[in-house]
Symmetry: D2
Subunit: 309 residues, 4 copies
């Protein structure tokens, strides 16, 4: 039976997102305590893949995911999931809204629901949990004096809680991005709307290096959809760049851009090519389709042979 790890515990938004992935059907879903622990379980083979937040997480640190993927034994992203974050207020069956005095949740969830919750249950105290699901579990178990939890719907269901109020986020729900991560392997075939993730480590004696990196992409017509500088921990001014590029590693323009990076950077870590969750196809600039690369290669061969006309 396939085992998939995820940044747990059970009932978090991460699990909710994981359940939308086809591989999760029929698989054993293994909650793990932290993002590093989840990725390490993939590295050791304890699980076949790991599921972690990559952008705008409600719980847990996205920086941790970026930094863990950039270091240690290589891993690759094989799938991404975008999940609109919707909080519910959940309580044991029979609890009425007006009975709620003490609410448990994760700190980030607390920050994102404060105004709505204050209007809904004025005077209620909100106390900390390591996760929204942990709060739901505590409510279910009658622990810690909690009357209700701010959590994902999936947590309410898992712990047998009733939903007292839906969609209690203060803002129109943000979207969180999660990724499924596995040991390196040949990527899935291109779908026509793929993304490739990378970490580029620049030479430390090189001030204009970011522009240089971007030109490797630009000159091959490859657009970026995310960029983030991260300190490498190797001292002040030592940076790496975490990047998402449009396109699939088997496409010629992406491949040449990657080779260009490899040549000019101190190191490049490939983090996978995978289907875009939003299914947006790339803009392919004139002259940068696979056919254009093939035609140019054939022409160069003729030039080198002296048979170009």
């Amino acid at each position: 039976m396939t085992r998939l790890g995820f940044f747990g515990p059970a009932g978090t938004f991460t699990e909710a997102a994981l359940r939308t992935v086809p591989q999760a059907e029929g698989a054993e879903l293994v909650p793990l305590a932290t993002v590093p622990a989840t990725l390490d379980a993939v590295r050791t083979g304890e699980v076949e893949a790991g599921f972690v937040p990559l952008e705008n997480s409600v719980e847990g640190s996205v920086s941790a995911t970026l930094d863990e993927l950039a270091a240690g034994q290589p891993l690759v992203v094989t799938r991404e999931v975008l999940l609109p974050v919707r909080f519910v207020l959940a309580a044991r069956p029979g609890t009425r809204l007006e009975d709620v005095r003490t609410i448990g949740t994760h700190g980030h969830a607390e920050a994102q629901t404060r105004r709505t919750v204050a209007a809904l249950v004025p005077g209620a105290a909100v106390v900390a949990a390591f996760s929204t699901a942990g709060a739901a579990a505590a409510v279910s178990a009658g622990e810690a004096g909690l009357d209700a939890a701010i959590c994902a719907r999936v947590a309410a269901e898992r712990y047998g809680l009733d939903v007292l109020a839906e969609d209690i986020g203060d803002n129109s729900a943000a979207v969180t991005r999660f990724v499924l991560v596995a040991l390196p392997s040949s990527p899935a075939a291109p779908t026509g709307h793929d993304k490739t993730s990378l970490v580029a480590f620049i030479h430390d004696d090189h001030p204009g290096a970011l522009l240089e990196i971007l030109e490797e992409f630009a000159v091959r017509g490859v657009n970026l959809t995310r960029i983030e500088s991260r300190p490498t921990g190797a001292g002040i001014g030592a940076y790496c760049f975490s990047l998402d590029a449009e396109g699939h590693v088997t496409e010629a323009r992406v491949g040449e851009a990657l080779m260009g990076l490899r040549r000019v950077c101190d190191d490049v870590r490939y983090l996978g090519s995978y289907e875009r969750a939003d299914a947006v196809p790339p803009t392919v600039r004139r002259g940068t389709a696979d056919d254009d690369f093939a035609e140019a290669r054939a022409w160069l061969a003729r030039v080198r042979e002296g048979t170009a006309t």
Copy 2:
């Protein structure tokens, strides 16, 4: 009396960092519950300045800071502080290490001290708090069955706790970056090692926009020390870029780069020029010092008058 707000509660790493700032001396330090609340208190004038984490925070979401500064009423950074994060294990006086059964702390702190704590007090349970300082306060008050807290030294001192173990982070301590934020005003004079923070909003019909933005800096010889793409919330593919650039807004090369951004971007938000905490001076490329700009401007005037020789 000056009032400075900070992302609280009292006793957090944020307060520890704030106490290193000269303005904090003799000021009233006002803990505020969230990053948005801290910034809003600056906007309303409730406090004169607000102190929040900007990179690699132990507690609280750095994304929240970036996104809050990018929207709403403008604010500017007036100072940055770099603080090495060092955790202590703290307990009420008289508690011995072997007595510790239950430890409170923030989730991120828990993740960063897990191995060391497990070796130090095998079998102890770690429970969640909204902040490391909140855990210390609870220990001090004898609440929640906590024997000890993982927190900053400043929290131990504030709540009268003894330090049972120093520097219990699993990794060599990371550095967290904090900023002091105020209402817009004329920036402090350049120190020779300054940084300027910005948010650039690109036109949404513009795929190569990031490269265009970077070229506005590169062509004036302005290096970037941080870059991060952030979704603007205005739909898929709508991004802004949060940037730190070397140099001070009153320097000619920085000013011209900012004007260039202003012209090519949909919007640019200036977030302040301030002294670099690490005191690293910028690399000023040939032809980009203030004198070079002044000389070129004088030359152009002569050209336009027909008196250039």
Copy 3:
């Protein structure tokens, strides 16, 4: 009376082009023996302006014009003229085509009319003259045994010759570009379709300098319409770049690009802003109009004062 010098003698294509210039009306047109002599006459004040070929000349070396403008006392272009080159075969009145045995002309004109002339007057010998007009003068004077000249219509008229055949160029007539050159002065007001000429001397320790130069233009949205690298004579690998840019020196985007060049180059020589003979207006990219520069400057002033909103 205004005196205008031109690369002579009288009756050349250069004179024909000069006669299309309004300033030439009522002026004394002074033929000068070479391009350098023409430019020197401007420098010494012997003539008020000089008229020389700049691209695709039939007679005389265009390189000479470029190199002479790049060195010595500065001069500026105040007008350009585009002239389609049309050759005629001209002879003394009474001469019939079948009587033509010996034809005089300039070497370049000979090369451009060879096939047509061979078909028209098979067996005729073509002999060299320093200019097409010199050949016409010699025919008129009955010198050098010449029966006919290959020359401009203006030369036939000036020397009282009949035109035996029109438009005898082998190819569809190329266009030659001429410029009127004067001592530096404030340029004429912009017309909305102007060009600015420059010579940029790069620092000799700088291999990527050409790209750097072009980026100074590109980042301000200034297109180039001509570029030519020229050895400076200061040794192998010492180059300058002769450039024509769209726009007028009083326009903000052109001015800022020029200042940028001035800062990054070893030297920049401004060669004038003047109306385009083809009246093609520039493409002004979003964010690069004068209003955009003014708005950005006002914004920067507010940012520096702390009053930007």
Copy 4:
């Protein structure tokens, strides 16, 4: 016997340059009347190679060479020659300097020797010839009333003239660049100091095209040593760029840059890879040597297979 054509007649600077080429030894050297005629003789197979001026010619139009190579049946440069231009004043044996009344030469040579000749033989008239060698031949034959010729030393020798004065150029001698041109074939092996010539035709709807072209070179670390925009004759604003790049077409960085050009340009014409006459080796930027390309290609293969570590 090998036949090499050259832009004649015999005795010109072009022939002098050709005689420095190893292939010329023992070959039949065929003077041809014009640059186009020389190139056409190569195209028809009448000669095996043609020798023409490419930069700073004393006689003949360099533009003609550039434009002829850019159009018609493709040809490639197989060798370049740099020749310092040194003029002599030559006369029939027995002629003394004070006897010289009438001097024949090419117009460009006349312009470059005027001051020296005026000082040397005050009052002498200078009359036009189609070439410096033609003038020497006429002097030798006692034609056209010529007492002396301004020509190359090789012409004096060929026509049995004595040299009355050496090195009579007004300026320190400029260098002229000539090229040997042949039908396309596989290029000679790289020497370590090679040059590659090209013509790039841009898409006419593309204002920033020049920068795009240069970035194709820059991103692969290929420096340019010459660039010249040329109208294509296809209407206003239709340009091509004539370029010389450092390096050899069989080198990886040059090959990839050429393929890049091929993809983004409307057309690219390869004009040969050949040894630099000045033997200056290219600057090879970090990451752009052949080994770097090979290593990157191998890495990409491993990435695509999922075996990169």
